[in-house]
Amino acid sequence: MADVELRNVVKKYDDVVAVASINLDIPNHEFVVLVGPSGCGKSTTLRMIAGLEEITGGEITIDGSVVNDLPPKDRDIAMVFQNYALYPHMTVAENMSFGLKLRKFPKAEIKARVDNAARILDITELLARRPKQLSGGQRQRVAMGRAIVRNPKVFLFDEPLSNLDAKLRVQMRTEIKRVHQKVKTTTVYVTHDQVEAMTLADRVVVMNAGRIEQIGTPNDLYHHPATRFVAGFIGSPAMNFVPATLESVGDGLRVRLSDTISFNVPESRVARYKPHAGKQVTFGLRPEHITETRGHHNGTGQEFTAVLDVVEPMGMETMVYFRINGTELCGRVEPTASGNAGEQMPLRANLDQMHLIDPATGLVL
């Protein structure tokens, strides 16, 4: 087990920059998730840590020593691939013990480790089978088993759940978390699914276009996004964004979304936003902070009325979609409180949770 550091790591393919100078410290035992849309450089970053891609510039250290020029086999890492990459001609036990055999471990030790990993993953009765005879979830477990038996310094996961069906994905997600709590190996996990990122990670690294947008705990990212990209990427349904103007009203501030709808900025935020008074901003508010008026939220709720476009009952809650100044917004209301599409509905915005974003830089103010 070890810590991993990335210092100004760059990856270029000819002239295309895949990863643009990223810095990342992963302390021992931590579970870090790299998340971002496809093509953001997260998988490339993982493969550079693994040694499967050469790095164009910068430095990667594992356990304090620079591994830039070390081949994968000498980095003492284990990786779980998206399509598992199990050796089809070997049994489960052979798949799991292959790395140990190549490293010339004694037979008894290999058997003990394979048995132990099989017990952790509950695949003991599958040891004699071949990958072809396993279901997707079982293959996933074997791929994890192959990583666990090595007892490596770092686990690397490359979108390991994306080939599973939705139900199994949730189940395996819990499994991965359970295994990490048990073996506590430093883990770097890549996914495009922000739910996976939020549920698994100690810290989440949001990447976009080859850069790190923000690093933080799941709650940090959710409640205090640093950029519009992070605010929009984390959370489902996504945060509502509306172009708005910040107006000074006496000592206070007011954010105007349309001719008819404007909200008073909570006092606690006034000092923070004061320098931006009179400017165009993007107003951001998550769907769960737009509720029915009967909601018993604490804090500064401000009411407004909207004509519902679409109503989506989900059972435990109902999504209501409406427009302000042509921009579509989403709110989450109690199923009993919702009106029908086309009707007017009074809604309440919890402005303690609002974000204002500079439209030019994309930074949260």
Partner: protein
Amino acid sequence: MADTVQTWGSTVPDKAAAKPNKMQKFLRQRSTIAFLMCLPLILIIICLVIYPAFYSIYLSMLNKSQTRFIGLGNFAFLISRDTFWQVVAQSTIFALSAVFFKALIGLITAHLVNNLPVKGQRKWRGMLLVPWVIPLALSTLGWWWMFDPTNSAFNYTLRSLGFEGIPWLSDPYWARFSVILVNVWYGAPFFLIMYLAALKSVPEQLYEAASIDGASAWQKFIHITLPMMRNIIAITVLFSLIVTFANFDIVQIMTAGGPRNMTHMFATYSFLLGIRSGDLPLGAATSLFMFPILGIAAVFILRGVRKRGREIG
């Protein structure tokens, strides 16, 4: 599945014949239609393969003038002849050594080509296929010319480098070497192309997983590439063994079995006995001897292929 009973239009009742008679039912079965569509091919195979095969079995049981049935007389005669056993040994040596070197060279060149940058690969693939594409009779004539003892390309080069010329086709052992060499030259590209296809079908991630598991390039070859290619290797070796064992043109053009019958193979020996010496039944009997030898090899190899196919899938 062609052999399950599925009928066409069974959900649409036929008004004209509410109860179709047996013949109509039979004709509507999928398996019947499949059979009818395969019929032209089946006829061709019957005429060109099955009939000649059975006819040669019948022929091999006649006397030289084809007037009397002599049972296994021709086979008994062959078994008692030293030359025949020499032909068996030579065919086996020829086929085994030629197939071994073809497979080896094919495997090595396939790896080399596979590791070339994608841009250059097509060019090399094309060039390396040339021996296999040229009509064999023509290219063998070319080789025959190069092996000529007097002033041919090989001996001229050897002499100008100060060596003695080699009697390529007149010394029995050099003659064996020469026919095997030409067969390897001709057949290796087939292995190259099959192995190249097999190499490309091994998922890249298996190699990445092996790298992370700690495998060196050689260990990846032994533990990943070879096992993944085993079926293709087995099938190409079997196929090549059959074709090489039955080879006719190379030996016939280069040495015609000589010197002193030392390069005769089943096909050329059978040709010598049946056509040149006019004993068709004896020639047929000779060529029929290949059947059990190749049949046994095929059973073993295909059994392995099926087993592995089930395991890996």
